[in-house]
Structures are given as C-alpha cells and as structure tokens.
C-alpha cells in the first residue's frame, strides 16, 4: 500500500509542468536581477494566442517571440516598466494579468470588496430580524389555551 502511494506521488511529481524551467534555461542573463525580472514579467503578461496562459507557460510561437523580445529588452538595460509599456502599447491593457488602477477598472478592483460588504450587511440584517422574532412576546391567548389543554390532560390522567 505504502509502496503504491509512493509510486503515485512520484508520478504526480514528475507530471508537474517542467517547461517553466526550460524557458529560463534558454536565456542567458547578465545578473540575477535581470533573471528575476524576466521571470516576473513573463509570469504576469498574458499570451494573446491562448489567452488563459501567461507568456512564461505558453508554447505558442507568439509567446516564444515575446519571451525573446522581453529578454532582449532586459539585457539591453531596459526596465520592467519599459517592457510593460511596450506590451500595453501593442496589445492593450488586456495583456496585464494585474490590471492598471484606473476609472475603467475601479469595479474590477473594488467590486469584490463591495459585494463582500453588501453580503455582510444582508447577513447582519437577516440575523437581527430572526433574533427579534425569537424573543417576541408569545401570544397571550395561545398561552392560556395551552395551559388549559395541559391542565385538562393532567386531570384526566390522574
């Protein structure tokens, strides 16, 4: 049993995407900072051909070209900011997995928090209402009726 579990674990581990490493092995950098910038940029920029993959993970020819372009820009001394500007100028803000904060993206940035607050308020109001119902005075007539019934059964049983 343990042997089989280990085998399974081993299979799962080797099945993990490994091309992430090959992408970086392909390129030479002058220093560690350039390499980490490259890693960061290719991870946060979207590949337009496959759209749900970033440039680091995608094997689309365009992603390969863009990796080459980003590598070239970084090794020629341009900053991360320059690379992001370059990409946005050509492909639009859509390439950014982390959108720019602007009037157009306000709903995107604060929408979830807004929904969360609205949800909290709704829950608070609902629980307050049901709490009020449970502590409400019982109906006096119903109480008297219940007492009468109880008294009757008592006398009959005895």
């Amino acid at each position: 049993m343990i042997g089989r579990m280990l085998l399974l674990a081993g299979m799962l581990l080797t099945a993990l995407p490994s091309h992430g490493q090959s992408v970086f092995a392909e390129y030479k950098f002058e220093n560690a900072e350039q390499q980490s910038d490259f890693k960061e940029l290719t991870a946060q920029l979207r590949c337009l051909v496959c759209q749900n993959q970033n440039i680091a993970d995608s094997n689309a020819p365009l992603a390969q070209d863009l990796r080459r372009e980003i590598h070239q820009m970084l090794t020629s001394g341009q900053t991360k900011h320059d690379v992001i500007d370059f990409m946005v100028q050509r492909y639009g803000e859509f390439v950014l997995y982390k959108p720019i904060m602007s009037l157009k993206t306000l709903a995107l940035w604060f929408g979830p928090a807004l929904f969360f607050i609205v949800g909290l308020i709704a829950i608070w109001r609902m629980t307050r209402r049901s709490a009020q119902v449970s502590v409400a005075e019982p109906d006096r007539h119903a109480l008297a009726e219940a007492r009468r019934l109880l008294d009757n059964t008592d006398s009959r049983d005895l």
Partner: protein
C-alpha cells in the same frame, strides 16, 4: 417592496450577462486605433532586394493585411481580398508573417494576388509592433498614416460591406 430588491438585483445581473453574450472574448480591442501606424521597412516578396516602407503610403488610404500560408483562415478570406484588390477601391499591402517565401509566392500565383506589394516579416518582429496575434488581421490606415480600424480573423463579405468599405470611402473623401 419585498420583491423589489431581488428584482432589481436580478435585472442588473441579467443586463450584464446579456451584454456579455454577444461579445467575442478572443477579440481584443487594439490600442493602435487612432494612433499613428507603426512604421516599418521590409524587403518585398516579389523582389527581396527592393524594400517596402510604410512612409510610401503617406497621403493614401490603405489596408494592411497580415497573412501566412500556414494560416487556414487566410485562405477563407483570400478570394474576397482578390476581388477587393481588383475593384481598385482601396490599395492593400500584404504582410507575409513568419512564412516561407517559396510557399508564399506559390500561394499568390495559385489563388491570385490582391496586394499592391507584399512585405516579408520573416521573424515576426513587425507583427509584434502591430500587436498581431491572430492570423489573419486587417488594418485600415488613413491618409495621415493613422490606424482607423483593426479586423481580427478572416474578413467576411458582411465585414467588408458594413465595416471596412464604408470607412474606406469616408476616408478617401477627406483630403
């Protein structure tokens, strides 16, 4: 009153979802619209020693069609482009993207050549400047050299009649 709030929430969500139904998520709005067309100078397909430069097109309304022989959708729109090129209503420049010159020449010989010239973008670097990502793509550029429209995917007769040609005619009239 009890039903008003859920009804309003439903209406808002329904409106958002409905507007999303008609959208194509693969079509990304181009940031190039209204901006000067990215300039390039590249060898031409017919004669590699000659160069095509975007500056040659100043003062003319033109289309840039990015295509490749490996692109199946390009074959779909090609007859329409041939027809448009023959009609003389607008000049079309081809940009042969990451392709093989021999197969590109063969394609034009077999299917017809709608382009006033075809520039060769072997490594796809010019394609990047134009924000190209889904072959084929067609751009409309005005006399000032400003990009006015980007069409992603094959041009259909309807796209041509309702989007591209009305714009081209309008741009041709302005001096």
């Amino acid at each position: 009153m009890r039903f008003v709030i859920p009804l309003v929430i439903f209406a808002v969500i329904a409106a958002f979802l409905y507007s999303g139904l008609g959208r194509d998520p693969t079509e990304v709005p181009s940031p190039l619209i209204g901006k000067p067309a990215p300039e390039f100078t590249l060898p031409t397909l017919a004669a590699p020693e000659q160069q095509f430069s975007t500056s040659q097109m100043k003062g003319r309304v033109w289309l840039l069609n990015i295509w490749a022989t490996w692109c199946a959708a390009c074959r779909v729109e090609h007859p329409l482009l041939v027809e448009l090129g023959r009609s003389g209503r607008v000049e079309i420049v081809g940009l042969n993207y990451k392709d093989n010159d021999t197969s590109a020449k063969q394609w034009l010989a077999e299917l017809g050549d709608p382009y006033i010239t075809t520039a060769v973008d072997t490594d796809g670097r010019v394609g990047i400047d134009w924000g190209f990502y889904g072959a084929p793509e067609t751009f409309v550029i005005d006399k000032e050299g400003v990009v006015r429209l980007k069409h992603i995917g094959p041009v259909s007769p309807e796209d041509l009649a309702t989007k591209i040609l009305p714009l081209v005619d309008e741009l041709q009239e302005t001096s």
